[in-house]
Symmetry: C2
Subunit: 517 residues, 2 copies
């Protein structure tokens, strides 16, 4: 008899060797398995459904009472999903999902061999009904709206699972588990929970705690006994995607104090270590994602993601190396940094006509700065950035810096005490920390303290399926986090005003930033 993997305290897969029953030891089949599993997993709380119970007598008798069990759960409360003879060659797959507002990523996992098999990204099909969270929640106020949005995402996930299954010649019935990490609103829509109260004072989700949901109950077409691990939310504006992120970075296990920042329309920030965690979320302004700028755009083909000044001309890099058609968040930060460093923006973020020379244009009484002349652009028109756009960026960067000083200030820390600064998400993947420091968006830390950490939500979702210890950690993280409301009071406004300068009114906070030449 071969065991593919040894029994591992941290694994969801448990091999159980029972003693065969006899007249002096006539415990019932299910009770026999459960008492052994309870010992191995050190918990009394294991659920098992009727169909697994009904199949058990035959399985344990044809396997000499040596079986392989698959479970899922948390808080020492587990659901038994599957029992097979120990020497089965039946695989066990799982699907980890990062449930984004705009994009959804599915990762197919080989649970038995602890490997990623494939990953697939799709647009969240709810976007076509309503692009952002707010619009989607309003849509659920219509009759049938909630059901419609839920069905869209369930159907899309089922379709992608079928696609992944076909591509890798696996059977959906061998997919025994799933995990979902999304923001609070997306999690509600996935589960069919009315999100109405999320966006209305006092901002109350239907449920925050994590859940284990039978896949069949949601109509997810994988194994009929499969369970879905749904990450908890901390509140309306701090969702399971961030808890998954904290898990994937092991912030909850580190002694050093780290901070994780995820920037979209909102900036979500969590600060802490193994002993405590403080979280907050605030509006970061639209400048960083798609925004008000005529040339601002979300990261996509032809977007300038990097831009710098060499001598008096710009050098840029676009996504897919296309002719530039716009500029995304990371590019805007680079641009502002370059303009400030060259003296074309002053410390108030205002364009300096005497330095900008021929690059200034007036349109509708608003000053514009020419970034890419029409000869070089992919649109056939000049790509410009206006003073209004720059003002918007300055407000965004000031908001970000103010959130960072507020959260560290709340625990009596200086920003320089942060040992590791994680920049998560697609924004983190592209941003040049040096540029962001130059404009005073993020603190002036040594570059090696910054880490771009990619899709931590997906990573965390995968980890709860691969490791029982990680799944248990989710409750720890959930309980450890204190959510701090950002009260926009006088002190906050004072900090915000000081942060609206490039990089800051207090230059001593940014010793590495060179004064404009």
């Amino acid at each position: 008899m071969t065991m593919k993997i040894p029994n591992n305290y941290k694994s969801w897969i448990q091999f159980v060797q029972m003693s065969p029953p006899c007249l002096g030891n006539n415990m019932a089949d299910v009770d026999r398995l459960m008492s052994q599993l309870q010992k191995q997993l050190e918990t009394r709380s294991i659920e098992i459904n009727l169909s697994i119970m009904a199949a058990l007598p035959e399985i344990i008798r044809k396997s000499s009472f040596h079986v392989r069990c698959m479970l899922l759960g948390y808080d020492n409360h587990y659901q038994l999903i599957d029992v097979q003879p120990a020497d089965t060659d039946c695989p066990i797959y799982g699907i980890a999902i990062d449930l984004g507002t705009t994009r959804v990523v599915l990762r197919l996992l080989d649970i038995l061999n602890q490997q990623t098999i494939d990953e697939i990204t799709m647009d969240n099909p709810q976007s076509f009904i309503a692009p952002d969270v707010l619009a989607r929640i309003h849509y659920t106020d219509q009759p049938g709206g909630l059901k419609h949005l839920q069905q869209l995402i369930i159907d899309a996930i089922n379709e992608k699972i079928l696609h992944l299954s076909r591509n890798h010649a696996i059977s959906p019935k061998d997919i025994l588990c799933m995990s979902v990490a999304g923001n609070t609103a997306m999690t509600h829509l996935f589960l069919g929970f009315p999100p109405h109260a999320i966006i209305r004072e006092p901002y109350i989700p239907v449920v925050n705690k994590q859940l284990l949901v039978p896949a069949a109950q949601l109509g997810i077409t994988i194994n009929t006994n499969a369970q879905i691990f749904v990450f908890p939310n901390i509140g309306s504006y701090f969702g399971g995607d961030l808890i998954a992120g904290i898990l994937s970075l092991n912030m909850h296990q580190q002694t050093d104090i780290a901070i994780m920042v995820d920037v979209g329309t909102n900036a979500e920030v969590v600060l802490g270590n193994k002993d405590w965690m403080l979280a907050c979320a605030g509006a970061a302004g639209p400048a960083l994602e798609s925004g008000v700028s005529k040339i601002g755009m979300t990261a996509g083909s032809g977007a300038i993601e990097r831009i710098s000044m060499e001598r008096d001309s710009f050098v840029w890099q676009t996504i897919d190396n296309q002719k530039p058609i716009g500029i995304c968040g990371s590019g805007i930060i680079d641009l502002a940094s370059a303009l400030f460093q060259s003296g074309m923006l002053d410390i108030r973020g205002k364009l300096m006509p005497d330095r900008c020379k021929g690059r200034l244009q007036w349109k509708n009484d608003i000053m514009h700065f020419l970034v890419v002349p029409k000869s070089d652009s992919g649109t056939g028109e000049d790509l410009t950035i206006s003073q209004v756009d720059i003002d918007s960026l300055v407000r965004s960067k000031a908001a970000m810096y103010t959130i960072l000083t507020t959260i560290t200030g709340a625990v009596g820390m200086a920003l320089t005490d942060i040992a590791v600064f994680y920049v998560a998400g697609t924004f983190g993947a592209y941003i040049d920390p040096k540029s962001a420091i130059n404009i005073g968006m993020i603190p002036d830390l040594p570059m090696d303290r910054y880490q771009s950490v990619g899709n931590t939500s997906l990573e965390g979702a995968a980890r709860v399926l691969l490791s029982r210890a990680d799944a248990e950690s989710v409750s720890d993280i959930y309980q450890k986090i204190t959510y701090m409301e950002l009260n926009v009071n006088q002190e906050f406004m004072n900090r915000f005003s000081a942060a609206k300068f490039l990089p800051h009114t207090d230059m001593s906070l940014f010793p590495s930033v060179q004064q404009p030449s």
Copy 2:
């Protein structure tokens, strides 16, 4: 706002008043309800399904955060079944089921008002496929056999529920809970568990522990969130019907030592009090239920249930006052007692020709005793009982007495130490203890220690739905019981031989029994 019943620690119905959320107290809806319920029920383990979660925000907001919850469960692990505004006038019904091999009884309960509304008895429809437990288990070895037997009982229960609902103008969706107490085999067939190993050494049920099963999963057509409380078995031959019986008699809470005896094809016996319980089961022989006797029959219209001798003639009483067509268990015991008392049976249980006078007949070389001449019988033929029938009864009564001496002997008690002797089931309802003592079937205790207790299985099933404390007691009882295998060894055989006399070889054990005149 009116509350129909006050919050009661013992009840499955809990009224919960939550504080409304505000900015400083923004716990999610489900978490808010659950934390309050957890406090009231003093447990952390309460499950809630998606559909109840999804409906919660609207319900709590339109009820000023004051709701009525219905739960079910055991071992401090509960399932939330229903949430309504506290001032709802929506009723809550439950169905308690005594799942017998031959007969099934359903009791419709008003959970809110703690009342029985109606009761309905039906033949177990599986009887038409296979009359007894053994034959039914063999039938499940055929392809589709198990599914067929399960569907028969589920369909029949659904039909009777519909019938009860119509008769009382209630909606099946207002039936939120159900309980099922049956012997081990019937419980297996109800749940769709293969009962194959129950009757084969070493006699292993699929599961013994109690279960909470979603009604929808079994296809029981009541509320879609309804749960079914399934009583645990102690083993293959001591089922949930007996645990329910113990519960209904409060044996697990009494200081006095009581014994409960349920007689069918098997005799099931439990002895004990609040500190300990010892159980055993043994073949009681067929004489007492339907049996080998030509006139033996299960209790039914025209069966002699009581018979005595006045002067030299019999006086009988039949079920439904019909002309006699046979004699059921209680009647056979009366008859044997009367024959023994009158000297027509000797102490070995043999018919005495010189005493029986004209009542003896020979058929196929076997001596018969005329009980009812054809002129009085409902069949138009003489109703007789043969020496073979009497021998069979004597073996049954000896087996019963031997089981009783064995179980009391195992704890060093005398039979006379038994404070209360419960005779359960239909057998208990009709048996005349005086007759049973006369033939030495049960011990010679003062008559006031005998109690006929009717359908204790149904009674216990009803109690778990009406009282949380009673439902919790089921685990206590389950854990308290030690099951004793009846080893048919030399000592047992010696006891059995001594008990094959009327009433016993040791007459000092039966001081109240008059010697035959």
